[in-house]
C-alpha cells in the first residue's frame, strides 16, 4: 500500500509540474519564438540550460510553450469529446429504437477505421493548424465515450432505482441526469484520464507528421520533427522534448491506473 502511494506520488508530481509549466509559459513566450542565429544548435550551457535549436531559440522556452500546446489540445479534445460522447451514448441507450440503431451504425463505422489513421485523414482534409487538429481528434474521440456510456446505460436502464423513478413519473431528463449519470462517472473519469494521455500522444504524433501545430508555434511533436533533421549534430533537440513527452504520458497513464484500482470499476458493475 505504501509502495502504491509512493508510486502515485511521483506521477502526481509530474502532472503538477506539467501544469506549472503551462502556468508560467505565457511569461516566456517571447524568447520561444525569438531567433538568435549567432547561437544556433548549442548544446546545454549556462546561458541556455537546455541548449538552443536550429534557429537559435532557447529550448527551455520552446519546451514550456509546447507544454501549453499539448495541455490545451488535450483538455479541449477530452472535454468536448467526453461530453458529446456521453450525451449521445446515454440518449442512444435510453431512447432505444431507430435512434439507437442509427447511433450504433455510426459508432461501428467509426470503429472500423484505425483511430490514429482517421485522425490523420481528417487533419489532412481539414488542413493543418491547432483548431483543425482539435476538431479532428474530437471527431475521432467521441466514439469511445459514446460506446462506454451506451453500454453502461443499457445495463443501468433496467435497474430497480431507475424503474422506480420512472413509475413515480420523474421526468426523463431528471432520470438521466440524477439516476444514471452519477453511476457512469467512475468509468468515464478513467476513460477520460487515458483519453488525456491519448490526446497528448495524438497531438504530438500529428504535429510530428507536420499535420498539427504550425511553426513558429511550438509543440513537443514538431520539436521532435525539426530536431530529427539534426540528430547527428544535436541529439538533445530530440531527447529533451521526447523525454518530457514520455514522462508526461507515463505520469498520466500511471494516474489512470491508480484511479482504476481505487474506484475498482471492474467489480463495481
Amino acid at each position: 500500500m505504501l509502495a502504491k502511494l509512493a508510486q502515485l506520488r511521483w506521477s502526481t508530481w509530474i502532472i503538477l509540474l506539467w501544469l506549472a509549466m503551462i502556468v508560467i509559459a505565457p511569461f516566456f513566450s517571447a524568447p520561444a519564438e525569438q531567433m538568435q542565429l549567432e547561437s544556433l544548435l548549442l548544446s546545454p550551457v549556462a546561458h541556455f540550460p537546455l541548449g538552443t535549436d536550429e534557429l537559435g531559440r532557447p529550448l527551455w522556452a520552446r519546451l514550456l510553450s509546447g507544454a501549453q500546446t499539448s495541455a490545451y489540445v488535450a483538455l479541449m479534445v477530452v472535454t468536448v469529446s467526453a461530453t458529446l460522447g456521453t450525451l449521445i451514448g446515454m440518449l442512444s441507450a435510453y431512447i432505444g429504437g431507430w435512434f439507437d440503431t442509427a447511433v450504433r451504425w455510426i459508432i461501428d463505422a467509426f470503429l472500423a477505421f484505425p483511430h490514429l489513421l482517421l485522425a490523420i485523414a481528417l487533419a489532412a482534409v481539414l488542413g493543418p493548424g491547432i483548431g483543425n487538429l482539435i476538431l479532428a481528434l474530437t471527431l475521432v474521440g467521441w466514439v469511445g465515450y459514446a460506446r462506454l456510456a451506451r453500454g453502461q446505460t443499457l445495463s443501468l436502464r433496467g435497474r430497480y432505482h431507475v424503474l422506480a423513478a420512472q413509475s413515480l413519473g420523474v421526468r426523463h431528463r431528471w432520470i438521466l441526469l440524477r439516476h444514471i449519470f452519477p453511476l457512469l462517472l467512475a468509468p468515464l473519469a478513467i476513460e477520460a484520464t487515458f483519453g488525456i494521455a491519448g490526446a497528448v500522444i495524438a497531438e504530438a504524433g500529428l504535429s510530428f507528421l507536420g499535420l498539427g501545430v504550425q511553426p513558429p508555434q511550438a509543440s513537443w511533436g514538431s520539436m521532435i520533427r525539426e530536431g530529427a533533421r539534426f540528430i547527428l549534430v544535436a541529439p538533445h533537440l530530440v531527447l529533451v522534448p521526447g523525454v518530457t513527452l514520455m514522462l508526461v504520458i507515463l505520469a498520466v497513464n500511471r494516474f489512470g491506473d491508480g484511479l482504476r484500482d481505487k474506484l475498482d470499476v471492474k467489480s463495481g458493475f
Partner: protein, 217 residues
C-alpha cells in the same frame, strides 16, 4: 504496400516475443520483484511514443554503435529498429493483458484438476492456463491492430521505410487527396481483414465456440 505489412508483422512478432515471457513471469511471480519490474517496464513501454523511441534507438544503436542502419529497408538488419519501436507499445499492452488474464485463469477449476491429476507445473501453465488465457489477449491484439497500423504511419516516417504510411504522409504534403483516400482505405482494409482472420483463429484456439455455433444452428 508489402513493406507496411512486413513492418506490421515484424512488430507483432517482436511484441509477442516480449509479451509472452514477460506476462507469464509476471503472473507466476505475482507481487514479487519480477512482477513489479515487468509491470514498470510495461508502463514505460506503453507511454513511450514510437516517434520518441525511434530517434533514441537511432542515436544509441545506429549512430553511436553502428550496429544497425539508420533508416531505409535495403540493409539486412534495417528492419530491427522500426519493428522494435513500433512493437514496444503493443508488447507492453499485451504483457499487462496476458498477466491479468493468466491470473484470472489460474483460479479456475480445471487448473486445480490438472494439478490434482499430477500434471507438472510447466504443463499446467503452458497447456491448460496459457491456451485459455490467450483468448482475451487475442481480442486485444485485434483491437490494437488499428493503433499499430496508425503507428506504422509515424514509424515509417521516422525511419524512411518505403511503405503505405510514408506514401500517405508524402501525398498529404503534396495535397494529392485521391492518393490520400486510397492509402487510408487500403490500410483500413488490412485492418478489417486481419480482424476477420483473428475471429476465425478463435474457433481454432477455443473449440467451445464452434460447438456453440453448431448447437445453435
Amino acid at each position: 504496400m508489402p513493406a507496411t505489412l512486413t513492418l506490421a508483422a515484424l512488430a507483432i512478432s517482436v511484441a509477442l516475443l516480449v509479451a509472452l515471457p514477460l506476462g507469464i513471469i509476471a503472473a507466476i511471480r505475482k507481487d514479487q520483484w519480477q512482477d513489479k519490474t515487468a509491470m514498470i517496464v510495461a508502463l514505460i513501454g506503453m507511454s513511450i511514443p514510437s516517434f520518441v523511441l525511434g530517434p533514441i534507438l537511432m542515436i544509441v544503436l545506429a549512430v553511436d554503435h553502428g550496429w544497425f542502419p539508420v533508416s531505409g529497408m535495403d540493409a539486412p538488419l534495417a528492419w530491427v529498429l522500426p519493428a522494435v519501436s513500433l512493437g514496444t507499445a503493443l508488447a507492453a499492452i499485451l504483457t499487462r493483458m496476458l498477466r491479468s488474464s493468466l491470473l484470472e485463469v489460474l483460479h479456475e477449476d480445471y487448473i486445480r484438476t490438472a494439478r490434482a491429476k499430477g500434471a507438472s507445473e510447466g504443463r499446467v501453465l503452458l497447456m491448460h492456463a496459457l491456451r485459455n488465457a490467450f483468448l482475451p489477449v487475442l481480442t486485444l491484439l485485434g483491437l490494437q491492430l488499428g493503433a499499430l497500423l496508425g503507428g506504422a504511419v509515424i514509424t515509417e516516417t521516422v525511419f524512411d521505410w518505403p511503405g503505405l504510411g510514408l506514401l500517405l504522409v508524402e501525398s498529404i504534403h503534396r495535397r494529392d487527396y485521391p492518393l490520400v483516400l486510397g492509402a487510408i482505405l487500403l490500410i483500413t482494409l488490412f485492418y478489417v481483414s486481419l480482424n476477420t482472420l483473428l475471429e476465425l483463429a478463435y474457433t481454432w484456439l477455443d473449440p467451445r465456440i464452434k460447438q456453440q455455433v453448431s448447437a445453435s444452428c
